[in-house]
């Protein structure tokens, strides 16, 4: 099994886990965590798909770097909103 396949499976697993939790949890922090896990899973999929032993594909890497910084900004904003409404999504 190549590294590419292993990390492809792992990325798909992370996306699945994150979606399951996003669908079943009502807790703000857990939902934000699930969103972060989802982003990591997608990043893993992109990198595994761009994997080629001969060359490095810099474009997905640049997208992911941008994505990581945007995600932390989104996380901070969501958590500030979550603190404001008191932590319950379902009410």
């Amino acid at each position: 099994m190549t590294a590419e396949t292993i990390y492809l499976l792992s990325g798909a697993g992370l996306v699945g886990l994150a979606f399951w939790r996003l669908g079943t949890s009502g807790d703000v922090i857990r939902r934000v965590l699930a969103l972060n896990v989802l982003a990591v899973g997608i990043a893993m999929l992109l990198l595994a798909a761009a994997q080629d032993p001969a060359t490095v594909d810099p474009v997905p890497q640049a997208f992911l770097l941008t994505g990581i910084v945007v995600l932390v900004a989104v996380t901070a904003a969501l958590l500030a909103l979550g603190e404001r409404i008191g932590g319950d999504c379902d009410e």
């Binding site: 996306v15 990198l47 904003a77 958590l79």
Partner: protein, 301 residues
């Protein structure tokens, strides 16, 4: 050998993600998330993406973990309304189907890699030799400009919400000697990463993440000054980075006729100037996002 390592890293990441999403204890769940970040960073080094791995370890695991811990402390224990077992089952089935579909799509899709040859052909003109930095600050600098704008929007939102400001406990005796070593090292490493980013893995984001770590260490020990002035300086530094990037975009447009199309021959100077400003500005914005608006803003309400 390396296959066994890959499998261990992949399973470790999945297991930590599972713990992070299921654990009833908030601190345990955030700790598992941070450890997942380090497994994932290792995986990305194995996938040939050290730039992304550095950013994930510093921002994805470090800073996001700190943000989550801060909010966990404010929101208290997990409050889960019991979801019917049927909903769990349906969600699990749908997620499994999605994961299976993703694996099938990625395993059977055969797309030609378009970008590597295009980037390799033009990287000589970009002014830097690290292809990732070339894409971020030259070929697709427009994306990076908008990303900084997203940070500014998030900062404005957080300022508007005016969350409770962190009240740091007075540092104990061992903290100050520790800070005297860690903070200067963080600043030095940030400068190193920023400069090396032109030719090797590193760059503005990774350097900014390190500076943020140093800034948060100072702030959490009450040494950064919680007053109105520090908050204003941080916000101004954040806005200044975006302003400078915009000015560079317009300046380049006037000089060459293309937005963010740097004059031939001096691209490296432009990139280093923009990256330096971005490092300071992103670090300032990330620290402000963590700390919340300054005291002055709250007093005015």
């Amino acid at each position: 050998m390396s296959t066994a390592f890959d499998i261990l890293v992949a399973l470790g990441g999945l297991a930590c993600a599972g713990i992070a999403l299921v654990a009833g204890n908030r601190i345990g769940s955030v700790a598992a998330f941070v450890i997942m970040g380090f497994f994932v960073a290792l995986a990305w080094v194995r996938l040939g993406a050290p730039d992304v791995a550095l950013a994930e370890a510093a921002i994805g695991a470090g800073l996001t973990g700190a943000l989550l811990l801060r909010s966990a402390n404010r929101l208290g224990p997990v409050r889960e309304a019991g979801v019917p077992i049927a909903v769990h089952g349906i969600a699990a089935c749908l997620s499994l189907a999605l994961a299976g579909g993703i694996v099938w799509a990625f395993a059977t899709g055969t797309a030609e890699a378009v970008y590597p040859s295009l980037v390799a052909a033009r990287v000589g003109e970009s002014g830097v030799s690290n292809p990732v930095t070339a894409v971020l600050l030259n070929f697709r600098a427009w994306d990076t400009l908008l990303e900084v704008a997203v940070l500014v929007v998030a900062l404005l939102l957080v300022s508007g919400l005016a969350p409770v400001r962190i009240a740091p406990a007075p540092p104990s005796e061992l903290v100050l000697p520790f800070l005297r070593i860690v903070v200067p090292v963080a600043v030095l490493l940030a400068g190193h990463l920023l400069w090396k980013g032109a030719t090797a893995p590193g760059g503005a984001f990774q350097a900014a993440a390190l500076l943020t770590g140093g800034g948060l260490a100072l702030a959490l020990c009450g040494l950064l000054g919680a007053g109105r002035r520090t908050g204003h300086v941080l916000v101004l530094a954040g806005l200044g980075g975006l302003a400078l990037f915009l000015a560079a975009a317009l300046g380049a447009a006037i000089l060459t006729g293309g937005l963010l199309d740097y004059p031939a021959g001096s691209a490296k100077v432009w990139i280093i100037a923009i990256e330096s400003a971005l490092t300071l500005s992103i670090a300032a914005m990330l620290v402000s996002l963590f700390l919340g608006p300054s005291e002055g803003v709250r007093d005015d309400r």
